[in-house]
Amino acid sequence: MHPALQGLMTIAFGVGGCVGYFYFSNLFLDKVLFPARGEHIARNIRRANMVRPWLFLAPALIALGLYLAYPVFETLRLSLTQRVPGGGYEFVGLDNYAQMTAEGKFWEALKNNFLWLLFVPAASTAFGLLAAQLTDRISWGNIAKSLIFMPMAISFVGAAVIWKLVYDARPPGTEQIGVLNALYIFFGGDDPQAWLTLPFWNNFFLMIVLVWIQTGFAMVILSAALRGIPEETVEAAIVDGAGPFQIFFKIKVPQIMGTIVVVWTTITIVVLKVFDIVFAMTNGQWETQVLANYMFDKLFRANDWGVGSASAMVIMLLVTPILVWNVYNARREMR
């Protein structure tokens, strides 16, 4: 069967199934289980209204529980077990973690992840703030905004291809087709460099790709926050003789600090999960390993589910503070 046809049929089934579930379960509740007639009419209506929220929530709760909540605990369990040859698992305590921390690649991945955590959110937020401030003051700002925002729609894999072309190196003496090497030679560099194979610095060449993608996101959010600043505060500062830089750093930035933190943490989470860029551009060679790619290596190349799960738990551990902070904020807002 043609995949397009199969896709269409599934859409029909999936969507029809969903609509059917909600419609018929609701009908069943009202007409059969607790019909709004007869002697217990009031009680039946009350009961139906108690059950209905759970009817509406059920598919979402099942999917969330099964696809996000359960895996957290199952991964924790797997990280403490080991596959026994011939099937089954045995409990091995912290052996997987010990094995993982004995590996140089793991520490390399952890170190690189911290580099990413330091650089990417900071650079994206800074560029985003700059772009927001600049584009808010010019007539063609909206066009500029959508062009800076555009990489957001590009896949990490597409971005990897785009930037591999930028970093491309040709043998010395021939014409360079990568922009970076062409500039390097133009400004008097000696031999073209294979940028992605230079240990330590290559991490930054990978990070630039993510900064390029995330800056637009930071810009959109921060631009909205900047526009929300009360005009009077800026006017008062001008009257008091503040210069444009003073206004920006001492009046505007402090007022949008909350938004900056939100942008920063959101990008931090993206960074912790970053996988495709490293996978497609270097696959962790030349000392560019990161945790998510290390985990993928362990799970699907080495087929070592114990250590793979252990490294997944490390990612979870790094995300947890943000998780707690988000939940805390959400609960405070609801009150």
Partner: protein, 382 residues
């Protein structure tokens, strides 16, 4: 703002200039890919893409037509034609017949060939080769030309990648596979989330606040944790690797954001509307389908765009839950990664494939940017 006071025109110019620099910097890499996808392999390998937009001075080694095309006229053997392909507007500045003297003749001059015969080459590339004796050999004599070549672009790469390419080059199947993954994986979570969001926003029941908090927490759980447990689960219930698995996985991973965005939006719908409907005897189901859903269209649209971009661009979930050993169900991102590995030097194929895969998200992005921005502002947590 500029009307307030104290804005110097120098500063205004600096702002325009810095904004322009920033935009160019951000656009430049994508432009490189776009331009490269319209160039031939030779062009990409010999000059930077930024030079493709301007006429370039090139040294070319060309040949006249083969001797078998010669005709006899007035007792002379003649081969006529053009050195360039039809429709080319290159202009020859100098030419020669010997690799050591490629600038021996001006256009319009006539050269005596060593093998016999006289060759005249005009600036537009047309030539006339004549001689008293019959030309022999399989190929025509070489001509070395220095020419001003105008920018030249081709659609051949797209033709190859979309239609005629071999198994590893052809993206048509992967394109349909990606579409097959994306559409159900976008629509199903919207439906499921909309009902849940309505319940969380407008229905009273114990434990509601706790559920909302749990969903905010799940927003940031890395999907990496879910890979192995869910792969095991899919194998146990017998769906293994395939479309159903990947649809379910995308639905599960997209739900927290969907519920969160939609609930936040639905809470903002005025209470009066809903209470009036209740007084008029509308059931919850009717309120939801007739009032809430139509009013929530902007939020539904913004989530749909997020989920579409995310599923279309996804690599990891597809690799784990969809693509089996046969590779029949490969998606575009996976195929491009494979090309990067095996055909890292074939930039014309790589650039074109990558552009085919990012074209659809770009169209969606520019068409529906308004909703995307709105969604970002409403739920900047994921």
């Amino acid at each position: 703002m500029s009307s307030i006071a104290g804005q110097k025109s120098g500063l205004v110019w600096a702002v325009h200039l810095s904004a322009a620099v920033l935009v160019i910097l951000w656009l430049f890499p994508t432009a490189g890919l776009f331009v490269s996808s319209f160039r031939t392999a030779d062009q990409i390998a010999t000059s930077g893409w930024w030079k493709a937009l301007f006429p370039s001075q090139q040294n070319l080694t060309l040949r006249t037509a083969a001797p078998e095309t010669q005709v006899q006229a007035d007792g002379l053997f003649v081969i006529e034609g053009s050195l360039f392909e039809e429709g080319s507007s290159s202009v020859i500045t100098v030419w020669g017949t010997n690799a050591k003297e490629i600038d021996a003749y001006q256009p319009g001059e006539t050269a005596e060939l060593r093998r016999g015969g006289r060759l005249t080459v005009e600036a537009d590339g047309s030539y006339r080769l004549e001689g008293e004796e019959e030309f022999t050999g399989r190929r025509g004599p070489r001509v070395f030309v220095t020419a001003e070549v105008p920018p030249e672009f081709t659609l051949a790469n797209y033709e190859k990648v979309l239609i005629s390419g071999g198994a590893t080059d052809n993206m048509a199947k992967a394109f349909f596979n990606t579409l097959t993954v994306t559409i159900p994986a976008t629509i199903i979570p919207i439906l499921v989330a909309a009902f849940a969001a309505y319940a969380l926003a407008w229905m009273e029941f114990p434990g509601r606040a706790l559920l909302i908090a749990a969903i905010v927490g799940l927003l940031v759980v890395p999907l990496q944790l879910a890979l192995i447990p869910l792969l095991k689960f899919h194998n146990e219930i017998g769906i293994g690797k395939g479309y159903i698995g990947v649809w379910m996985a995308h639905t599960g991973f997209g739900l927290p954001l969907a519920v969160y965005l939609l609930r936040n939006y639905m809470v903002g719908i005025p209470r009066d509307i809903i209470e009036n409907a209740r007084v008029d005897g509308a059931t919850d189901f009717q309120i939801f389908t007739r009032i809430i859903l139509p009013l929530s269209f902007p939020a539904l649209a913004s989530f749909a765009i997020f989920q579409f971009l995310w599923t279309w661009n996804d690599l990891l979930v597809a690799m784990v839950f969809l693509i089996d050993a046969t590779g029949e169900t490969t998606v575009m991102t996976k195929q491009i990664v494979e090309m990067l590995g095996t055909r890292g030097g074939n930039w014309e194929i790589l650039a074109t494939s990558a552009f085919v895969s990012i074209a659809v998200p770009l169209i969606v992005f520019f068409a529906m940017q308004k909703y995307l921005v709105r969604g970002l502002l409403a739920g900047s947590v994921k």
